[in-house]
Amino acid sequence: MTDAALRIAIPEPRPRGAPLWLRRRPELVLTPLVFLVLVALWQAVAWSGVVSAFVLPAPSAIAASLVAGLRSGLFLQHGLVTLAEAAAGFAIAVAAGLVVGTLIAEIRLLERTVYPCLVAIQTMPKIALAPLLVVWFGFGPGSKIAVAAIISFFPMLVTTIAGLRDTDRGRLDVLLALGAAPLRCLVSAKLPGALPHVFSGLSIAAVFALTGAIVGEFVGASAGLGYLIVQANARLNIPQVFALLLVLGGIGVLAYGTIQALRRRLLFWAPKEERSSP
């Protein structure tokens, strides 16, 4: 047998040389790399002059604006306002989505009556609704929380219903055979079983709550990243608009990441992919 054949027969299990942390979490390098490539592309577009700098500012200008905003503490101060609004809206949406979703999934009559109504109501454009919400919830954070909650409620609702529908019959049988009350079935079998679905709702809602808070701020606010965006936009400070969008994107990634971390903790029992995929 030749050397080459031997080498084929006994393949290297893993590339050697790379440090362990890199092999474990290659994204720590890859993500910044992709980011740099994107920025380079962007900068190239900016230099080429295909798109006006007032529409798409150069990354360098955005970076400068970002650094200035972060240094002065302006972004942090307003970012916390937005974050608080989004978090409150998210919390309300999660609670309401779980409760209403459960009611709809459990009671067929509601599924056929209330659910379509909720779908219909959801189609109302939030921006059109926002001024009305201001009238109802006041000019303070209330209206922004309301927009955030309304936007993120729907993903929670839909995924809760889907999760409860996806209940494993066998597990439910165990409880039913014990004469368990509906609430007990819900708590001990259906809801834990629905968690994988609910987590997709949570992930979507976390990001949507953020956009909701911003939309609420667009309509009227005296603080928050949405307020800063409107101000910067009106003053034609487009680099700052993009810097703020980046900050928002960062918060979004953090929020999503938090939900995923929670998911890994709570779904420890879910079958691990790695186990069976060779």
């Binding site: 049988d173 039913l176 055979a177 014990l178 004469g179 368990a180 007990r184 001990s188 834990p192 029992w269």
Partner: protein
């Protein structure tokens, strides 16, 4: 004679299928089970055994005919019943012990007081040391044993078991059989056992019901006249083997000769 604990009259069950057809699973099934009795149900795969058990457990409610529990028309599951399903049906998010404790929680019993019992039951089914493992960290047979322990934890008067020992090796199965016989006798439980092992049925039961397939009917009700308490030595007795052969013949159909069999 005491009133039957379970009385089934003319039970007929038809399943609708996704393609809009109908499958008749049971046709005019009649059976009585008296309190304290140990009754086994044997029959070919797909004949409707699980369907009968699910109806007795109160999990299927759209059937024709009547089912009564303790003289009253069956209106759903009862708390004093332990069920072992054909699949283990464990909650994957609960450890072995927490799975066994599930009925305790559902029935609102004293958790603290019951925890030692859960440990005992797990030890009885040979799972000492595996209390804190999750279901997907257990082997198939281990999962089934957890399910058996779960059915026993609340000491139900009626046990419904659907092939509880199907995934167990010969030795464990023997141990479990003896254990089950002992538990049933000691606490005077009523047991309804579905099994594929004729020997197991004969060894454990007061009566063995033989079911035919498509549609499922009970074709014979055989009283096992072996003395109690029974131990494994009884297998050597002529009554034991003749009963096994008789049931085997019933299952093979009228025209079949009594073939030797690998599986009893």
């Amino acid at each position: 004679m005491a009133t039957p604990l379970i009385a089934v009259r003319d039970l007929t069950k038809i399943y609708p299928t996704a393609r809009g057809e109908q499958v008749q699973a049971l046709s005019r099934v009649n059976l009585d089970i008296r309190p304290g009795e140990f009754v086994s149900l044997v029959g070919p795969s797909g004949c409707g055994k699980t369907t009968v058990l699910r109806i007795l457990a109160g999990l299927i409610r759209d059937y024709a005919g009547s089912v009564s529990l303790r003289g009253q028309a069956m209106r759903g599951p009862s708390k004093d019943v332990g069920v072992v399903f054909q699949d283990a049906n464990l909650m994957p998010w609960r450890s072995a012990e927490a799975n066994v404790m599930l009925p305790v929680e559902v029935l609102g019993l004293d958790r603290k007081a019951m925890r030692p019992r859960a440990k005992e039951l797990l030890a009885m089914v040979g799972l000492e040391g595996f209390e804190r493992k999750l279901p997907n960290e257990l082997s198939g047979g281990m999962r089934q044993r957890v399910a058996i322990a779960r059915a026993l934890i609340h000491d139900p008067a009626l046990l419904l078991m659907d092939e509880p020992f199907g995934a167990l090796d010969a030795m464990t199965r023997d141990t479990m059989n003896v254990e089950l016989g002992r538990i049933a006798a000691r606490s005077n439980k009523t047991v309804f056992l579905i099994t594929h092992s004729i020997a197991e049925a004969v060894f454990l039961s007061d009566r063995v019901l033989v079911m035919s397939s498509r549609p499922g009917r009970i074709v014979e009700d055989i009283r096992i006249e072996l003395p109690r308490p029974r131990d494994l030595d009884i297998i050597a007795s002529p009554i034991f083997s003749s009963t096994v052969v008789r049931i085997r013949r019933l299952l093979d159909g009228e025209d079949a000769t009594a073939l030797p069999s690998i599986a009893h």
